[in-house]
Symmetry: C2
Amino acid sequence: MFAIKNTFAIVLAVLLPAVASAQSNPASQAARKWRQAHERAIVDEFVGLLSIPNVSRDRENIQRNADAIVRLLEKRGIPARLVGIPGSNPVVLGEIRTSGATRTIVFYAHYDGQPLDPKEWTDPPFQPVLRDGPVESGGKPLALPPEGRLFNPEWRLYARSAADDKAPIIAMLTAVDAIRAAGLSMKANIKFAFEGEEEAGSANLERILAANKEAFSGDLWLVCDGPIHQTRRQSVIFGARSSVTLNITTFGARVELHSGHYGNWAPNPAMTLARLLASMKDDNGKVLVDHFYDDVEPLSELERKAIAEAPPIDRQLMDDLWLGGVDGGPRTLTELITMPSLNIRGMASSRVGDQASNVIPATATASIDIRMVKGMEPRKTADRVLDHIRRQGFFVTDGEPTAQIRRDHPRVARVVVSGATSHAIRTPMDLPIAQEVIRTVESARGDVVKLPMMGGGLPLEEIERPLGTRTIVIPMGNHDNNQHSFNENLRIQNLWDGIELMAALLTM
Amino acid sequence: MFAIKNTFAIVLAVLLPAVASAQSNPASQAARKWRQAHERAIVDEFVGLLSIPNVSRDRENIQRNADAIVRLLEKRGIPARLVGIPGSNPVVLGEIRTSGATRTIVFYAHYDGQPLDPKEWTDPPFQPVLRDGPVESGGKPLALPPEGRLFNPEWRLYARSAADDKAPIIAMLTAVDAIRAAGLSMKANIKFAFEGEEEAGSANLERILAANKEAFSGDLWLVCDGPIHQTRRQSVIFGARSSVTLNITTFGARVELHSGHYGNWAPNPAMTLARLLASMKDDNGKVLVDHFYDDVEPLSELERKAIAEAPPIDRQLMDDLWLGGVDGGPRTLTELITMPSLNIRGMASSRVGDQASNVIPATATASIDIRMVKGMEPRKTADRVLDHIRRQGFFVTDGEPTAQIRRDHPRVARVVVSGATSHAIRTPMDLPIAQEVIRTVESARGDVVKLPMMGGGLPLEEIERPLGTRTIVIPMGNHDNNQHSFNENLRIQNLWDGIELMAALLTM
């Protein structure tokens, strides 16, 4: 799941009881049996893959990862190759042709991981360590149990990409083993597409797919990424918000001024910025930019029903996050992430705390991101924010304003818009294929939390636009996996559950 | 003049023509003659003093400075000694007793300088270099001219404290030489009090004076510090604002959150802070904190007249500072600094620019300073701001709020108040002694810009409170001296003018 590091996963202090799995899917049952007999071998294969460093820009190791995954596929007799364009990391493409199949399902995961600072990690990030619980709760390192001894499902494997996003790769391939061992067969053609630069923003994915349409074509892409619901219930997610970023700088005098000698007279760009930002949202978090919500495509009845049925988590999350109030009330988090948002990512002007000095700052900067939902045009959305800034009396420029521009206008804002390219995706939940996926996941994992969309981003449009296909997001990691942060980990039970989940989806 | 570094002096691009000096003061005339015959020796003495590093916390060199100044006094037969309290840097005290004197005038300056980073300086800060103009305009280094050759008055001497604040020390002592050489005599008892930790906030000054009341007593303290008017006209300043600082931190979730997954729901502390700050001032810079202006002591008619007569500088300053508008209109800068101000010194929340990431920040912090004028109580003023914050719905604490506090209150602000100890000083301009100082300065330097107060701070209350005396500020540095920043310098003409100015004041 693409995002930036320094975001911490949320650990719910008290978990709702997991709903007992009413597992009726024969492939999932076969996967469980296979797994119980091969736990150590499965984890060994996982550890092997996790041991290869996988930061996107580390080209040499990225290639080693891609080659290793090709070998994992070929070991299973699945023809595999690397597909890329000049300058890209390769997508690993594997294919299982099924005689008589009338459709093709593509299983997507990514093998690259978030950049990291090893100093922050308890264990070296590319030397996987098994622990008997979360390291934050004092989980101790363990030797891997010998073949034949079961793993405790609450143990966790620590390594970069243990959850995000190598676990699905291992789950899929293990599921293939289990399906075959049980003599079950697939109904659809299956493709595996493992991306190598999702954490770098999937900058090349769309072009790779567009240049290889036939190879990557499918009736449905299952995007296997992200954590399951905070209640530990399996989730299926039908879309994602897209985002656009604006960096806004306001200006005071050309240099910092002494706040005694010029305070009351020289405009303070930090105050100017504060006033501008404050003008953008009301007290309850509603965005006050004109026409901001105009193009939002309303949720369908089925989507509203899914939100209403999602387990309540707000109260618990607030407690865990030390929050005495939230924005957007009385709507819940699950509903609010189906709406567009405007968020200050960071703010800076001169210095604070011990570093502060008696100055009127020369500039102030805020970075904001806007999360868009289905119906919203990225460039149009950004332009509406620019219009809002102008209506607050600012001369807006995207370059460094000259001395003359600054002399000519009482308020000047430099606004740099970036990433205004992707639209949000919301796959209709009432599509027959969507309903079939829900039923299949339920047959493997019991009650499912169905979410019209996730709040964060995924390269869904980058897949749908070139291929004209549909996407559905199938997560399997634990919600408290520390993805994008240090001490990323996968709870062993989530790996076991993921294998059973993939077995069901591979045979649908 | 106490403030913090990173404040740049303002260089007016076009100077108003200096008013021709109608110099009628005999001591000033004697000082000019003496100076013209001894330029090299005067500068040599100055260079010697500037060569001793003088950052307040550098105790060893501070002692060397104090000892050197004692020698400069004793060389002139002026009894001198060091006065301090445990832990303080010494104040150098010298005294000239005048037989038949009916009053005592104390000449204050400080010999410590602002902390610095030598890497920022063009020349080493404690190896004074003469240049043929401002270094910013390409001024080239020069050898000191031999005795007998005149200095070009537009040359500048570069060194830490060349302006702030060793120049007045040299000017005073040279003036003593000139007065004596001309056979003129003083009328008052004269004391010299040279502080050694003004740039560190004069933390010990009041206690030193209180413990040595008799030694430091005087009818008037002339606080010789700071730059003259931006028009290059001599100024006399009758007070200074005092300040109090508030560090305000607002809180979101206990960790940074992913702005996709939680944006619209988790409160954003940067937005909370922006809204709070925006509530504090209106569009024209007026402070909206209730009762903020209640206790401001109105300006007297004489003070209002002085402001009206001060040369206009706003338009020129705006142009030079690249400002398209200013706060507080239609009042001028000169008037506005006689009013209290509220200023954001700095602001920080997560990261901006290339460092920004897709997060909802966990905290946001602003440092604000409030400049107070006569009549305002520091603690009461700070409390009014705290009340304002509470009225915006915040639970206010001065410590790190616990998880429970944060869970119990939708909005929590940590506010740390510091420096709420000093009151602003405004010496009435209609006091006979004030009028006498103005006349004396005019007799030396022609037309004088009379300012009821300066915007920045000076330890005036720290002098007045223990001694029950009056203070008047007599600056002599060029306004573009880069004080508190790198490349501090004194324009040679300002040294010459300062000697004539001190000669007049020493004989009043």
